[in-house]
């Protein structure tokens, strides 16, 4: 089927923008993913470490001597970190709002959700932002194995899934500190298999999880220690995961972890799991088998080459045939609204932080997608029924009634807005209803609250 730039931007991106037209060919659309590499505003772990070290130094100074550091200085530093993490959220909104096709930014969202980490405190929020800029964005166009290695070994993943608290029971440290009873923590190992690679349906056992947990020991993070591998925490000896033996003949190192990730990535179950997950996210909650099979074959033939998978999504008829079978998640809804209202990257960056909180971050929380705080490491739900709930729709109606008039100086004519938001894809019912609204405000609300706009 022919490439349709509007439908591609709605299905694979964040919808149409009143300012920037989407790329006009399939090639240009796929090439635009390259825009989503880290930019000048990227958050780095070096920076996060420096900020948190400063906070932690101030706290310990004050513990020793209340005169040495004031409560005010500590609060100031905490506030500084909170502002930085809110700026990172604003930047995510801005990049998504300004990207012509939006595919790269949606892929950032997809992979960051596949490898879910959470925020929580200002420190963890900043780490989660660094995770996206350091583990996800640089690896959007490589192989899945590279992306997976970057994600699993990033400090935020290591801390989120408790890998920094997992000690080889016979490691040097555990033997030295016998009284402290240091031992394994299986959390990262389990999610690596169950969520990040093979999937829960695959053939693996508790023993594989346990062995992988042993193999992962040593991978760690400490605020004041460089590097992410501490040999003193590593379990000596070889481990066998899914029938393959790793390590044993030399001191434990990150190389064993790289090797097991490469094998997990190459596993046929991983190919099937990712094929289905991509199809579910981008095409339909119950995706056509033809598409899943094509993605699966592409993954296996290319050794998990990600750009080939992206191209395979656009290849067949499914993307166009299953239009509007997905419901936009709250973040997608808000970004799509910003785009339709004509806010580009710069105009979102210019929004004062107070507005970003009131118009974007708080509404996200209310709509059930608290920023960087998914329910668990399986990320956000995909099913339309999870989002198109009475309360979910109510909150979108509420947002659509209140926020557009605060975000733009003058509300557009609802008929123009309908065209900007949905192009030629609007349904007859919506085209009929919008001009009949009592006010521009209600006209915009009807567009933003409609099923047409909330589906993709």
């Amino acid at each position: 089927m022919n490439f349709n730039p509007d439908i591609a931007a709605i299905r694979l991106g964040y919808g149409l923008s009143a300012r920037v037209p989407p790329p006009q060919t399939a090639d240009a659309f796929l090439r635009s993913v390259a825009l989503s590499v880290p930019d000048d505003h990227a958050v780095s772990m070096d920076h996060v470490r420096a900020e948190q070290t400063m906070l932690s130094d101030l706290n310990s100074l004050r513990k020793k001597d209340p005169e040495a550091a004031s409560v005010k200085e500590i609060r100031q530093q905490q506030r500084q970190m909170r502002i930085q993490s809110a700026e990172a959220v604003r930047h995510r909104f801005a990049r998504a709002a300004g990207d012509p096709g939006g595919f790269g930014e949606r892929l950032v969202q997809f992979w960051a959700d596949h490898f879910t980490v959470s925020g929580g405190s200002p420190y963890h929020d900043l780490m989660a932002a660094a995770f996206v800029d350091e583990a996800i964005r640089p690896h959007l166009q490589g192989s899945f194995a590279q992306l997976m290695f970057a994600a699993e070994t990033h400090p935020r993943m290591v801390t989120y899934l408790d890998q920094d608290r997992s000690f080889g029971p016979h490691s040097w440290l555990a033997r030295r500190r016998k009284g402290r009873d240091l031992g394994l923590n299986e959390n990262l190992a389990r999610e690596m298999i169950e969520l990040h690679s093979l999937g829960a349906d695959a053939a693996y056992s508790q023993k594989d999880v346990r062995q992988l947990a042993k193999l992962l020991t040593g991978l760690s993070f400490h605020l004041r220690r460089d590097g992410n591998f501490r040999p003193v925490m590593a379990e000596p000896g070889a481990e066998t995961v899914l029938g393959q033996q790793y390590g044993g003949d030399r001191p434990a190192s990150l190389d064993d972890i790289r090797a097991v990730i490469k094998d997990l990535a190459a596993h046929p179950a991983t190919s099937r799991h990712l094929a289905r997950k991509l199809a579910v996210h981008f095409v339909a909650d119950d995706p056509p088998q033809s598409l899943v099979d094509r993605l699966d074959a592409t993954y296996r033939e290319t050794g998990g080459n990600l750009p080939s998978l992206y191209a395979a999504l656009l290849d067949g008829p499914e993307l166009w045939r299953h239009f509007r079978q997905k419901v936009r998640q709250p973040f997608d809804f808000l970004v799509a609204a910003l785009r339709a209202l004509g806010l580009d990257q710069q105009r979102v960056l210019d929004l004062p932080m107070r507005q970003v909180n009131a118009r974007l971050i708080r509404p996200l929380t209310n709509m059930g997608q608290d920023w960087a705080m998914p329910r668990g490491p399986d990320g956000w739900p995909e099913a339309a029924e999870s989002w198109a709930t009475p309360q979910g729709i109510a909150l979108r109606i509420d947002w659509a009634m209140r926020q557009p008039r605060v975000l733009v100086p003058k509300l557009p004519d609802p008929r123009d807005f309908l065209q900007a938001a949905l192009g030629e894809t609007a349904s007859e019912a919506l085209k009929w209803a919008v001009p009949r609204a009592e006010s521009a405000r209600e006209g915009l609300m009807i567009v933003l609250a409609s099923a047409d706009f909330n589906r993709r």
Binding site: D181, S205, D378, A388, T389, P390, Q391, A433, S450
Partner: protein, 392 residues
């Protein structure tokens, strides 16, 4: 008003609005089925039952757990000389003393061995056995209960909060709402939206309910500030609904996954659970005496403490039972013991009974369902065995 009516007439909208208007239709409902009330709270993340109800009378507990679950000497409240209640549930002690709080120490769903939160929760909410593929399982056991209830109306059951409650998903009508959702629409905007949603079944139903509930203004639940404000708001909203036509309410409390720093993680979650139960009791007033609260989690955690002051995913776990209708102040069901041979797979608490059996007996005693309906339709394939008599 006149001009709006004329406008509506001219656009042909009047025909589809009045008759199908959800607010009008909801007034004509028959009486609710009975006065008994059920609240199901899903504790997402796997609650460590051994730390919540600490079997300190078993000397093996101290060997398995160096820092956690130390019993009364660490502030836990003795319940019966063998079990002690986690100190953060102290606000619920008056309920225990009044016979309004009980617990089952070792239960689980039929889910085994993979210990995935998500599959575990799916099975808990689906209420099915291992013979059914969870991915094809669309309805939850509370919905199948509704399908068996005479005199059902959509208000009979509510899921509360923005989180997904699969336990109530399915063909029987039920409602869902979050206390945060509020908006004000003029009648014209509402009719236009109804028209726009008309051809999309999902949006037609969910959007219709949104407008109906917002118009009634029942979401304006105010709870005092504080760390558990969101949970108290859910419980307050549920209590308000239950005082009206609703008889079944469900919501979830997450934050139980205590792989590390368990005292802090579990402490916070228990504060929220205690606040939820007490808010229900307070909000329900006299109706509390006809209320049963079941707080269930997807599975328990390892009997041994791990290397980071926490516990990992296990099998057998605890269920908390509260309410004026329950026979409380006691331990329900058997205790497996903590000796190596007593454990499941050498690491987890052995579940002594299927958690669905307790739910099934509660449903029978609360709503009068037959054993056949429960074992075949609500919990297909379940053998309920003898009545644990959790209701007074």
């Amino acid at each position: 008003m006149l001009s709006r009516r004329l406008f509506l007439k001219s656009t042909g909208l009047i025909g589809c609005s009045a008759a199908a208007h959800p607010i009008l239709s909801s007034i004509a409902f028959a009486s609710a089925p009975g006065e008994n009330r059920l609240v199901v709270i899903i504790l997402r993340g796997a609650m460590d039952g051994l730390d919540v109800f600490q079997p300190y009378g078993d000397p093996r507990l101290r060997k398995l757990r160096k820092t956690l679950s130390a019993g009364p000497e660490n502030g836990a409240l003795d319940l019966d000389g063998f079990f002690a209640l986690h100190p953060r549930l102290e606000p619920l002690m008056p309920l225990w003393q009044a016979g309004e709080l009980a617990f089952v120490p070792a239960v689980s769903t039929p889910y085994r061995d993979k210990r995935s939160h998500f599959d575990g929760q799916d099975m808990l909410e689906a209420g099915t056995g291992t013979d059914i593929d969870l991915r094809n399982q669309r309805d939850g056991w509370l919905n199948r209960l509704l399908q068996q209830m005479p005199g059902l109306r959509s208000e009979t059951a509510y899921s509360v909060g923005v989180s997904d409650m699969r336990i109530l998903d399915g063909p029987a009508p039920a409602k869902s709402w979050a206390p945060e959702a509020e908006f004000d629409l003029g009648p014209q905007a509402q009719r236009l939206l109804e028209r726009v949603y008309h051809d999309d079944p999902l949006f037609r139903v969910a959007g219709g309910q949104a407008m109906e509930i917002a118009a009634e203004g029942i979401g304006r639940t105010v709870a005092d500030a504080g760390p558990s404000r969101d949970v108290r708001a859910l419980a307050k909203f549920a209590a308000d609904r239950l005082n009206d036509q609703t008889r079944i309410a469900t919501f979830s409390i997450s934050g139980w996954d205590s792989h590390a720093r368990q005292p802090q993680v579990l402490g916070r979650a228990l504060d929220r659970l205690a606040d939820a139960v007490l808010t229900l009791k307070q909000g329900l007033g006299a109706n509390w005496s006809q209320t049963t609260v079941l707080a269930m989690t997807e599975f328990g955690r390892t009997v041994a403490e791990n290397g980071s002051g926490g516990t990992d995913h296990g099998t057998g776990g605890a269920m908390l039972i509260a309410g004026g209708a329950v026979r409380g102040g006691r331990v329900v069901g058997r205790w497996p013991g903590l000796a190596e041979g007593d454990l499941y797979a050498g690491r987890d608490l052995m579940p002594m009974r299927d958690i669905r059996a307790y739910a099934a007996w509660a449903l029978r005693d609360l709503f009068g369902l037959s054993r056949d309906a429960l074992e075949q339709a609500v919990f297909p394939g379940l053998d309920m065995q003898d009545n644990p008599r959790i209701l007074a």
